[in-house]
């Protein structure tokens, strides 16, 4: 079958079961937009190419399938650089197709020429410049394979206009052998000797903590993680990228660690004698001052990317492999050492916690740890009860806290809790970057995987609105709430026009404190309250009018009493996007906080400073 390169490109995307492309056309990509008219693939026309990239990310976050974005050359391509960098940091599989000037014009500074493969070399997992239309199906297959296997990540395929127009003979690679990737062989299974050593360390630890990262979600390992935690009775912290990977309401869940993590999660890691790092990468926002991080802990580090092992902290046991596969291997190794599954255990399929908000997080010991074979390694295992008692004491003494005074300024945490309590348990929450993101992560109860979408590693302001749109496209059956800041909202609000035009009914809660709040917080705490360029005004723009102008319902909330009715009204609207402008207390700060560069031992739990200062 004779096709043009453009037709072959779209057909290749169909062969990859792509259901939606987020994009915006332009000169160099024009040929590829023609066959879209004849394709079954939905195209969502964005208002800015950055929106297309973040939508693809949001889609990938919640579906696990690669998000696809398509833009033109030059500025179209450079506008999607930020989402690529964002996806690289958070290991999100997206496939970006860019138009390029004709091969004959490359290197001549042609109109809208940009060497986008060079620009994105270090912020994509891999990229391709296609110079022969005949290569297109193979390159598309390679791009999806690379994006979705091993450590997932963004890829970019740059397609010059003459390649799109050139004829080719259609084919589709039958399998991996037809791909030209001799240097790409991701390893998924862990080294058995290392897995056994890890199991022995687990059975020898008195103060262990599971440090679960985003890799758990990428590996679809939430169920086996829960099995591991329950069988061993080891508490779990879930990083910003792993919120929802382990149910917040599970008795073993300690919540989020790190710079704005809760006291118990941070301190349990500091005092641990064993950290079991699963798909996490010892990010500086988690470790604080690295030399003072978890000083007494041995480390088991499991990651599919061997370059993460020892990059920041030298592990005692390093296992390169897929988190799900390795946890399964670990469970078998534990069994061979005498720690079997508990009777009636919930190794898989037990959803009694997930989705059930009634499960109490306060009562310890409501899970059944594994059965222990007499005389085995497991039978001489240290008793974890003193450790768990310590953990419970911290939880009791240092809970997350804020004070919503009656008639006082509306607290952002109060809004998050009200939203949490008024929405279905599997609601997808999408955040931008800053204070609102931390409050959302802290105060939401994530009991299901793939319900939390945010920009973790890159910290990309403006992420929430487009990512929420992508998430809603991927999971139209679920309610999708973006929790955004006023600063973030202004960076990508134009995509609400996209959402209105495409009937993608997301809901946006702006925690409007009239400031670039996180920067304001740092200036207050570390720059002697010298506020430099952080004030935004609560009324400029008028968020309600702006929302209405973009085809959304706009609401404004100024007091605690108005919160619940507004959310209820928003939840009842399903034919267009809704924006609620919550006027929140500008002086509220995110606590706990570990100052940048400080040890996690120096965590500040509240406004009056010091441990327990609240």
């Amino acid at each position: 079958m004779r096709l043009t390169g453009a037709q072959a490109l779209i057909k290749s995307l169909e062969m990859q079961h792509v259901e939606v492309i987020f994009g915006l056309p332009g000169g160099a990509i024009l040929p590829v937009y023609d066959p879209i008219l004849d394709s079954s693939i939905r195209h969502v026309l964005v208002r800015h190419e950055q929106g297309a990239g973040h939508m693809a990310e949001g889609y990938a976050h919640v579906t696990g399938r690669p998000g696809v974005a398509m833009v033109t050359s030059g500025p179209g391509a450079t506008n999607i650089v930020t989402p690529l960098a964002d996806a690289m940091m958070d290991s999100i599989p997206i496939v970006v197709i860019t138009g390029q000037v004709p091969t004959t014009a490359i290197g001549t500074d042609a109109f809208q020429e940009c060497p986008i493969t060079m620009v994105t070399m270090d912020i994509t997992k891999h990229n391709w410049l296609v110079t022969d239309a005949q290569d297109l199906p193979r390159v598309v297959a390679e791009a999806f394979h690379v994006a979705t296997t091993g450590r997932p990540g963004p890829v970019l395929v740059d397609v010059p206009k003459d390649v799109s127009n050139a004829p080719m003979d259609w084919y589709w690679p039958a399998g991996l052998d037809d791909l030209d990737l001799p240097g790409y062989k991701p390893q998924t299974e862990g080294d058995p000797a290392q897995v056994r050593r890890a199991a022995e360390l687990i059975l020898g630890a008195a103060r262990p903590v599971i440090y679960a990262g985003g890799g758990i979600l990428k590996a679809r390992a939430a169920e086996v993680l829960r099995a591991l935690a329950e069988r061993t009775g080891i508490p779990v912290v879930t990083t910003l990228m792993a919120r929802g990977a382990f149910p917040d309401r599970h008795p073993l869940c300690l919540g989020m660690p790190g710079m704005h993590g809760n006291y118990t999660a941070v301190t349990a890691m500091q005092r641990a004698d064993l950290l079991i790092a699963l798909g996490s990468r010892f990010d500086d926002r988690v470790t604080g001052k690295i030399s003072a991080f978890a000083p007494d802990a041995k480390v088991i580090h499991v990651d599919i990317d061997p370059a993460e092992l020892g990059k920041v902290r030298r592990p005692d046991v390093a296992i390169a492999g897929d988190s799900r596969v390795v946890i399964e291997e670990l469970l078998r190794a534990l069994e061979s050492l005498g720690l079997g599954p508990s009777r009636g255990s919930s190794v898989s399929g037990d959803k009694s916690v997930a989705g059930d908000k009634s499960v109490g997080g306060e009562t310890p010991g409501t899970w059944a740890t594994g059965t222990v074979t007499a005389g085995s390694v497991a039978s001489s295992r240290p008793d974890l009860a003193p450790w768990m008692a310590q953990v419970r004491a911290w939880q009791k003494e240092f809970p997350l806290a804020y004070d919503q005074e009656e008639g006082g300024a509306l607290k952002p945490q109060f809004v998050v809790e009200a939203l949490r309590d008024a929405t279905p348990p599997d609601t997808i929450v999408v955040a931008g970057v800053g204070q609102h993101q931390m409050w959302a992560s802290q105060y939401w109860k994530f009991d299901n995987p793939y319900t939390w979408v945010n920009s973790g590693g890159a910290g990309t302001m403006g992420f929430a609105v487009p990512a929420a749109i992508g998430a809603k496209v991927g999971r139209p059956d679920k309610m999708v709430w973006a929790i955004d800041g006023d600063g973030c909202f202004q960076m990508a609000a134009q995509e609400l026009v996209t959402a209105s035009a495409e009937r993608i009914p997301i809901k946006v809660a702006i925690l409007n404190n009239a400031y670039l709040g996180m920067v304001r917080q740092w200036q207050e705490l570390f720059y002697e309250e010298r506020y430099s360029e952080v004030y935004l005004s609560p009324d400029l723009p008028d968020y309600v009018k702006w929302a209405e102008a973009m085809g959304c319902v706009g609401l404004k909330v100024e007091s605690a009493e108005e919160v619940a009715p507004a959310i209820e009204k928003a939840n009842g609207i399903d034919d267009r996007p809704v924006v609620i402008d919550f006027r929140t207390d500008a002086f509220e700060k995110v606590y706990p906080m570990v100052p940048a560069g400080a040890s996690n031992d120096d965590i500040i739990v509240g406004p009056s400073g010091g441990e327990g200062g609240r």
């Binding site: 493969t117 060079m118 070399m121 270090d122 997992k125 891999h126 410049l129 690379v146 990737l181 001799p182 240097g183 790409y184 990317d305 061997p306 370059a307 092992l309 020892g310 990059k311």
Partner: protein
């Protein structure tokens, strides 16, 4: 004796456009220092070999290897500790050698096992675009160089012997000098069988000193690698 500061990493890479840029960019982005880098085709036209001498004080070797391995175009990597490697480098140097010095230079070249690959007067080999190179002035007026011969010497050897040779010929006057950077292969086990660390990298022997010059220069790029930004 302190452990060597450098390590040799050889990477077999796909012979595709942009690969050298990816490798160089990775080192730059991660803050890994490179002492030298040499690229050459292998006997399989699909692959090239990059020999990189890395500064192991700038980053742990394991981290450098793991990051390099993540590049999709990198097929395999071999790491060679200096004591486990046969290391060679090539030097091309143009030396001023008038009738008086000529004999001494030839003797030196012979002692180091080098080869004289060109002889003439300065003007014919000096790049006119280069400023400040001794002897550039008056290139047109060959008369002024009358009797002043130069020779270009090729020498392949260990970096140490190249250093020594360079120091010994320097007093005669060096007008042009080009070193290739190190290339290396694993040492063979005594008794011939390749050691376990020998990677299945098929190689031309780019430093064979008797071969014609144009086929031995390790920096000779293949078409696909040509014109890459460093």
């Amino acid at each position: 004796m302190s452990p060597p500061r450098h390590h040799i990493v050889t990477a077999m890479v796909e012979n595709k456009a942009g690969v050298l840029a990816r490798v160089a960019s990775l080192f730059s982005r991660r803050g890994f220092n490179i002492f030298s880098l040499a690229v050459a085709p292998t006997d399989n036209e699909r692959f090239s070999r990059i020999t990189i001498v890395v500064d192991v004080e700038s980053a742990p070797l394991e981290q450098i290897m793991n990051q390099l391995d993540k590049l999709v175009n990198v097929v395999s990597i071999t790491e060679l500790a200096p004591e486990e490697a046969v290391e060679r480098e090539m030097l091309l140097v143009t030396v001023e050698a008038g009738p008086v010095e000529r004999g001494q230079v030839i003797e030196l070249v012979g002692a180091f096992g080098g080869t004289i690959v060109d002889e003439g007067v300065g003007g014919t080999i000096v790049d006119e675009g280069v400023e400040g190179v001794e002897g550039v002035e008056g290139v047109e007026g060959v008369d002024s160089f009358e009797g002043v011969d130069r020779m270009t010497v090729m020498l392949a050897g260990t970096p140490r012997s190249i250093d020594d040779f360079e120091n010994l010929v320097r007093p005669f006057g060096i007008t042009e000098l080009q070193r290739t950077g190190l290339v290396a292969l694993p040492k063979l086990e005594p008794g011939a069988a390749p050691g376990p660390s020998t990677a299945p990298l098929h190689s031309t022997a780019p430093l064979h000193s008797t071969a014609p010059l144009d086929s031995t220069a390790p920096l000779h790029s293949t078409g696909a690698l040509q014109g890459e930004a460093g």
